[in-house]
């Protein structure tokens, strides 16, 4: 659609885009460099060092926080997917369509509200906050994103595939297992990625609902922000980004090889 645009406009536009990409990457590059800098002062480069990374990997505190975050992320993702898929499958009839509205309040409530709500709930029930409260909160968030995703994929499905399966003699449970779920697989995978990312990304639920025993990665970073150990935090941040990226790449390549069908409009 850029035919015959004046070269000046084209140049200015591309420049703008490059600036935005630069904007997005500048801070990342900053802490990337910072994490290898032997000087604690961010702006003066002393020498290349892996000390901070060493410190990171040797720190039991970081290890525990990372492990906690991972466990919580995996559990809440699994729960979100299972509960979400079950919900979408179970409420596919028209008479249940209003149930989707149960999840609408989340659109208008910032994360902090959910965090405070869960914290109050646990306090009220006299249950100490910990893994349970964190997983509860992350799953609640994951559900809100998973359900619309799964729902819209369901709408797109070709219902004739289900009818064909039944016509050929498969019973209902078999059809669900062998036809419906595989067709939903792309949406399920996308929803899983989203839920996982949201869980790792989360701050508020950790802040309010972690209790005294548990520390997650985001809590660790936040609490150590003001100390002078900053290059370690940079190293940690780089590790987090790198591992998220790796997981995503693995997922991307894996789905490419299992030939996900993606229909594109030709017009």
């Amino acid at each position: 659609m850029l035919l015959h645009r004046s070269y000046l406009k084209q140049f200015a536009y591309t420049l703008f885009i490059c600036l935005v990409y630069l904007f997005m990457f500048l801070p990342m590059m900053g802490i990337f460099v910072h994490s290898f800098n032997s000087s604690c002062v961010a702006s003066s480069w002393e020498s290349f060092t892996l000390d901070w990374y060493k410190e990171l990997f040797c720190s039991p505190e970081v290890g525990r926080a990372a492990w906690n975050s991972l466990v919580i992320a995996i559990s809440s993702t699994a729960l979100s997917i299972i509960l979400g898929t079950a919900f979408v499958l179970g409420t596919s009839e028209k008479k249940y369509s209003k149930l989707d509205m149960l999840f609408y309040p989340n659109i208008f409530t910032p994360d902090i509200v959910l965090a405070v709500a869960i914290m109050s709930l646990f306090k009220f029930l006299n249950i100490p906050c910990g893994f349970v409260s964190l997983i509860a909160g992350h799953t609640a968030i994951g559900l809100v994103f998973a359900i619309p995703l799964l729902r819209s994929r369901m709408e797109e499905l070709d219902k004739y595939l289900i009818e064909a399966s039944l016509d050929l003699g498969a019973d209902r449970w078999y059809t669900t297992k062998k036809v419906l779920l595989p067709l939903l697989k792309p949406a399920i995978i996308t929803a899983a990625f989203m839920a996982f990312t949201l869980s790792l990304d989360d701050f508020f639920i950790s802040f309010f609902c972690a209790g005294n025993e548990i520390e997650t990665l985001s809590m660790y970073i936040f609490s150590h922000l003001r100390t002078n150990n900053t290059p370690v935090l940079s190293a940690l941040s780089i590790c987090v980004v790198a591992s998220s990226f790796t997981i995503l790449m693995i997922g991307y390549v894996a789905t490419k090889y299992t030939t996900m069908e993606k229909s594109n409009d030709l017009y």
Binding site: L3, H4, R5, Y267
Partner: protein
């Protein structure tokens, strides 16, 4: 003014050559059809004229203006797309008004022109409907109205009737002819359906791969006197017999001798320099020009005998596949003129195929 000229136009898609050195002239006010098989480049040619693609070399002229480097929105050429491309968020009125709005024409003029145009395409009363509420045929008319309302110099039509059913197609074809005559505008119509092209066109070009023009002439000429085997086969169906070419006894007469089927006498109105006696030549005889009968007739130049292998009843006509010699099949169309045919032809009947020498055509290779 509304004449188009493509001069030595070449177009590549990446490394693939799509249009090879095409030169084409379309006169003002003509209903011009571009006919060709899929992949011959006709859509590309349309897009080059519209400005949706840019040429790699060559020029495009609209009247006297060189529009080769003119952006899409500055060419006074509008397109009716195959998918109609109607804006879903705008009503029928707004869709048709769109070209006028983007030119910032005054409001009352817009209303005037839009209503006139909707009346012309027989859509009065549908102004406020949404696109999703109207039928396919009506959508096609909206697309037409929208492309015409700003009075372009040329209208391009990209297989506009492809999505319509037979009856609607026939109706729209007549309306298009009417419209074009009334407006006196240059229409460029591309299609792969030769029936459509033959019906609407004043002149048509048959395109082969890479946009090569096999023949450019009136529909009648293209059909009755195809210039090559490709054209003969693509436009309608035909029977092709090959053999050695000899001159006949009478002037303008030639004989083509097939190794098994004997000689075919062909009448050629004009001498051509590729009519070289002794060369390997091809004769085309259209199926409707052949008379199929069990009787013996005299005074007809050409006769072949064979066995009826297949009969396809098609309502208006019947198609006979007649095996003339060892799996060589001649197709014959017989119009079903009478309720009770004078002669009943059945499977495995031995029949005579007669045709005049004027009805056969020699094909240039």
């Amino acid at each position: 003014m509304g004449s188009l000229r493509l001069e030595h136009v070449t177009k590549f898609y990446g490394n693939d050559l799509v249009i090879d050195n095409l030169t084409l002239d379309i006169q003002q006010g003509q209903f011009f059809a571009l006919l060709g098989p899929s992949g011959c480049g006709k859509t590309t040619i349309l897009r080059l004229i519209a400005g949706l693609e840019s040429v790699d070399s060559g020029s495009i002229f609209l009247g006297k203006r060189n529009i080769t480097n003119l952006p899409i929105y500055e060419r006074k050429i509008h397109t009716v797309f195959q998918s109609y491309a109607l804006f879903p968020h705008l009503s029928v009125f707004e869709n048709v008004a769109y070209p006028l709005r983007v030119r910032n024409q005054p409001e009352d003029e817009i209303a005037d022109k839009v209503f006139k145009m909707l009346k012309t395409v027989h859509l009065s009363g549908s102004e406020n409907k949404q696109i999703s509420q109207i039928s396919g045929g009506q959508q096609q008319r909206v697309a037409l109205a929208r492309a015409l309302v700003a009075e372009p110099e040329v209208l391009l039509l990209d297989e506009p009737l492809a999505a319509l059913d037979q009856r609607l197609k026939e109706q729209m074809l007549l309306e298009l002819i009417d419209l074009q005559e009334k407006l006196g505008m240059t229409f460029v119509y591309i299609t792969h359906d030769q029936r459509e092209a033959l019906t609407v066109a004043d002149r048509m070009a048959i395109l082969n791969v890479h946009g090569k023009i096999e023949q450019l002439s009136t529909p009648k000429n293209v059909y009755e006197f195809p210039s090559s085997r490709f054209v003969a086969n693509f436009v309608g169906s035909t029977n092709i017999i090959d053999g050695t070419l000899h001159r006949g006894d009478k002037p303008h007469t030639f004989e083509v001798t097939h190794k098994d089927m004997g000689s075919i006498t062909v009448f050629m109105q004009h001498e051509r320099n590729w009519l070289v006696p002794g060369s390997h030549s091809y004769v085309s005889i259209r199926p409707e020009k052949i008379k199929i009968t069990k009787k013996r007739l005299s005074d007809i130049d050409n006769v072949l005998t064979g066995i009826v292998r297949n009969i396809l009843y098609q309502g208006q006509s019947t198609i006979f596949d007649v095996e003339v010699k060892d799996e060589y099949i001649i197709k014959v169309f017989k119009q079903n003129e009478d309720h009770i045919p004078e002669e009943i032809i059945n499977y495995d009947d031995e029949v005579n195929l007669y045709f005049y020498k004027e009805d056969a055509v020699l094909l240039e290779n």
